[in-house]
């Protein structure tokens, strides 16, 4: 990746963060929490995106961000109240901004009409606000500043002013950083002079006494009257590279109106005594154009010693500001590096296991110092592994935020009123899990809004509040993350589900199904309950796709529903895709790993418990029920005839559809954490096998995928047969 592309990539990564901040802020404002800190954070987010986009010449993005920023500025200056209608526009604008960022990133076309219509809406907001506050504003602007300006003359010939020239008043106060980065105020003023006719007034009041003067400080500021035919962006472009290092305000003034007000007075010479703390410029918040944008950086020297604040006061104000926004310092690391580290740690775990095995084989006593040292190594290895895994863990918050957008768009499209409530946003899970959860979660949220929550009229008739609620929650539960999507809608219409399943020949008409069985029919491929195929959900992808995506992540999904009270989809996912707790078993000379999460119990079968059923099938009585007995070796083709279950061990496993099965294996060897290695990377998916791992002896062992394995073999329960076969 060349440098430019790398910088561009960084910009887009930062955009993602800014968009996140934006969303949080806007949602907070929407919920009525429009304090100035929130509004500022929102403004800064949009502003930073605009600034970065300008540097990369992403004009469309700049244009939209600018309009957006203008509207936000009105809210910030309290000229525009954040009413629900306004917030709706702003939230939609945030969505469009996210789209534009994405479009710019992958260089794809975007929906111009949507962007344009929102730009119009935003401009509408701005002009409304101006119309309201127009009178006051004019007064404010006309109020003369207490300046003692300095005249500057420039060698450049001013261009001939065209009749349509627009007047701009530019307040420009460089900070020391501006000079430090090799920029020069004079050059900028010369550039401005090129745009049109300018009158420049230099404000020297901040200039300290000579003995107090820091030669590297910045004490001068300028007020520039520019009359030009160029538009605002052209002027802003001049300041593009210094905008973060100065106080800059460009105001378009009415032609002729304010020019008298700003007529610079006679050059008074540099008045070193003048320290009168009355200038609005100095009174302006220091962080005004501070681009730290919530990163909590404290610029020790960012403030150009404003006259209104003593140095100590300024420092105090800044450090308080910094404290409020201070986040734990972070570094940006290439994901590949982390993955490489994780792979290496995986190797370390394998090697450590190998070493332990060799030591055991060498017949060293458990009490020997070697064994003790090895124990310590094992402990350390595990800690390193956990630490490395934690690097990849991220909170689900950004994912949940994306869902609030989905809900917003859906409520607009369906005319339903739905509120998304999120819980446990700080719950952390592996980044890959988050990434691969986005699609299934989107689908489920869509389902919840589209099929779950009823239309407002229906809700009111049922005595519920007209606004529906979709709840999205995340929590850690026994080493897994559980994500739930629930709605307070009508629940699953079981009769209809059943009728559809029969009609589509997914189940026989006389099938005996429990409520849970019927609910699970939703996961069958090609099943869609929507009467009409809406463009929101039901585009051929159904819950079966969701289920498969979740399964591919090593997760399970279950559904529960109460008619009239809504449905809950619950997903249980592993925290990481890299390791798994498994039971190492021996089957026909092959070593297999069975995920521990699936195992309910292990037992040595008694003859009285095993019953033959039909020609080949056998069942084992298990806690009052009967579980089909499956010979793992035979099913996987490792042996032709089933082994004698009484010579082996039976693992009672539970699939995610709550079917119990008894797997016959030859022996249990070990119970350990194994590093998951993909089979698909170099081969392809193997039915019944989730992945592979490498054991202590360096050989590959296969990890059983209980659900697909049982699905392939289950022939005992006719009711759930179709159901299970379909998932395999």
């Amino acid at each position: 990746m060349d440098t430019m592309a790398a910088i561009r990539e960084t910009f887009f990564q930062e955009c993602e963060e800014q968009l996140g901040e934006l969303e949080i802020g806007l949602v907070a404002m929407d919920e009525g929490d429009a304090n100035s800190e929130t509004v500022n954070a929102v403004f800064r987010a949009v502003h930073s995106i605009k600034g970065g986009a300008g540097a990369f010449k992403l004009d469309r993005l700049v244009r939209f961000a600018h309009t957006f920023e203008t509207a936000l500025d009105l809210i910030r200056s309290e000229q525009l109240a954040p009413s629900p209608a306004v917030m709706k526009t702003l939230l939609r604008s945030a969505d469009v901004l996210a789209d534009l960022v994405k479009a710019a990133r992958v260089d794809e076309p975007i929906d111009e009409s949507r962007t344009e219509s929102l730009i119009e809406e935003l401009k509408g907001l701005a002009s409304d606000a101006r119309a309201e506050a127009g009178h006051d504003n004019a007064k404010d602007e006309a109020e003369p500043f207490d300046f003692q300006p300095v005249m500057l003359s420039f060698d450049d010939e001013p261009e001939v002013v065209e009749p349509a020239a627009q007047r701009y008043t530019i307040a420009f106060a460089p900070r020391p950083d501006l000079y430090r980065k090799g920029n020069e105020a004079l050059r900028l003023l010369r550039e401005l002079a090129r745009l049109g006719e300018i009158t420049t007034a230099c404000d020297t009041r901040s200039l300290p006494r000579l003995e107090d003067l820091d030669p590297q400080g910045a004490y001068l500021s300028w007020r520039i009257e520019l009359s030009t035919t160029e538009d605002l962006p052209a002027i802003e472009e001049l300041f593009e590279f210094v905008v973060d290092d100065c106080e800059l305000e460009i105001v378009a003034s009415q032609p002729g109106a304010s020019s008298e007000a700003w007529q610079p007075s006679q050059l008074p010479g540099i008045d070193i005594e003048a320290q009168a703390p009355s200038a609005p410029l100095a009174a302006r918040p220091v962080e005004r154009r501070d681009n730290a944008a919530g990163e909590g950086r404290v610029h020790k020297d960012a403030a150009p010693a404003p006259a209104a604040l003593t140095a100590q006061e300024g420092e105090k104000a800044r450090s308080e500001h910094g404290k409020a926004e201070a986040a734990a310092p972070t570094i940006r690391v290439d994901l590949e590096r982390v993955d490489r580290l994780i792979n290496l740690v995986g190797e370390l775990v394998i090697n450590q296991a190998m070493l332990s095995q060799r030591v055991m084989e060498a017949g060293l006593a458990r009490s020997s110092s070697v064994a003790a040292g090895l124990g310590a190594l094992e402990q350390l290895t595990r800690e390193i592994q956990e630490g490395v895994m934690a690097i990849r863990a991220q909170p689900v918050k950004p994912l949940f935020q994306r869902m609030s957008r989905i809900v917003r768009e859906l409520t607009d499209a369906t005319g339903k009123s739905v509120r998304l409530r999120t819980e446990g946003e700080a719950t952390e899970v592996d980044r890959t899990v988050i990434e691969r959860l986005a699609d299934p979660l989107t689908h489920m949220i869509r389902n919840a809004v589209d099929h779950g929550v009823e239309a407002p009229a229906v809700r009111e008739a049922a005595g519920k509040p007209s606004q529906g609620e979709v709840k999205l929650s995340a929590a850690h539960r026994s080493g897994r993350i559980v994500i739930e999507v629930s709605d307070d809608g009508a629940g699953i219409d079981r009769q209809r589900v059943r009728a559809i399943a029969v009609k589509k020949e997914l189940i026989p008409a006389d099938a005996q199904l429990s409520d849970a069985d019927i609910d699970n029919l939703l996961f069958l491929p090609g099943f869609s309950t929507a009467t009409s195929v809406s463009n929101i959900s039901g585009r051929g992808v159904g819950m079966d796709v969701v289920k498969r995506s979740i399964q591919a992540l090593g997760g399970r999904i279950s559904i529960s529903s109460r008619p009239g009270f809504g449905s809950t989809f619950s997903m249980s996912l592993p925290l990481t895709l890299a390791v798994l707790d498994g039971m190492v078993v021996k089957v026909a000379d092959q070593t297999l790993v069975v995920p521990l999460t699936a195992i309910v119990e292990t037992l040595r079968p008694k003859r009285s418990d095993v019953h033959a059923l039909g020609v080949n099938a056998r069942v084992i009585s298990d806690r009052g029920g009967f579980a089909p007995l499956i010979d793992v070796g035979q099913e996987l083709g490792y042996r032709k005839t089933p082994a004698d279950p009484f010579g082996g061990v039976v693992l009672v496993v539970e699939t995610e559809v709550s079917t119990r099965c008894a797997l016959v294996v030859d022996a249990i060897h070990d119970q350990r954490q194994v590093v998951i290695k993909s089979l698909e990377a170099n081969y392809r998916q193997v039915p019944g096998i989730a992945a592979a791992t490498i054991l202590g002896d360096g050989r590959v062992a296969l990890i059983l995928d209980i659900d697909t394995f049982v699905a392939r073999t289950n022939r005992a329960a006719p009711a759930s047969e179709t159901l299970l076969a379909a998932t395999g």
Partner: protein, 155 residues
């Protein structure tokens, strides 16, 4: 090892030649990642018979294809004397089980002749052409079709 000189015209290519039984075949050296000895593989369920299983190649899981069986010969009786040629096909890395690596050849692509008509369909679908070198005939194995056919057969 004998090194055959490339012809004047055409782009010279290097090939790794190997034996399956008494017959010689070769593959483009650019797809060869490494050559290693046979280690027992873990059998894969529901796999075509020519997939001998998977082995651990420094932390990744590598499927082993018995090339003899794939080309329609009797299955290789794998011992420590057999070798695995680790090749990259598309984005995947697989191991080819062969009897022995015999030569590194430098040949112009022009010297590749079409596969004679007498060969069986299965051989013809995996052998892109033949090279005649010092009176030997060496079949050029087409790795891409080998793997895509594998997927088709398995489906």
């Amino acid at each position: 090892m004998t090194e055959s000189k490339s012809a004047a015209a055409g782009s010279p290519c290097e090939f790794v030649a190997f034996r399956i039984g008494v017959q010689e075949f070769c593959i483009d050296i650019m797809s060869v990642r490494e050559i290693r000895g046979w280690t027992p593989a873990t059998a894969l369920p529901h796999a075509p018979s020519y997939v001998r299983g998977v082995i651990n190649l420094r932390g990744s899981v590598l499927p082993i294809v018995d090339l003899a069986e794939r080309l329609g010969f009797p299955p290789t009786d794998a011992t420590a004397r057999q070798v695995i040629i680790v090749v990259q096909v598309g984005g995947q890395i697989i191991g080819l089980l062969v009897d022995a690596v015999s030569d590194i050849l430098t040949q112009s692509t022009e010297n590749i002749q079409p596969t004679p008509d007498v060969a069986t369909d299965i051989v013809r679908s995996f052998v892109r052409g033949v090279l005649a070198i010092d009176g030997r005939m060496i079949g050029l194995v087409e790795l891409d079709s080998l793997m895509s056919a594998q997927l088709e057969n398995a489906a």
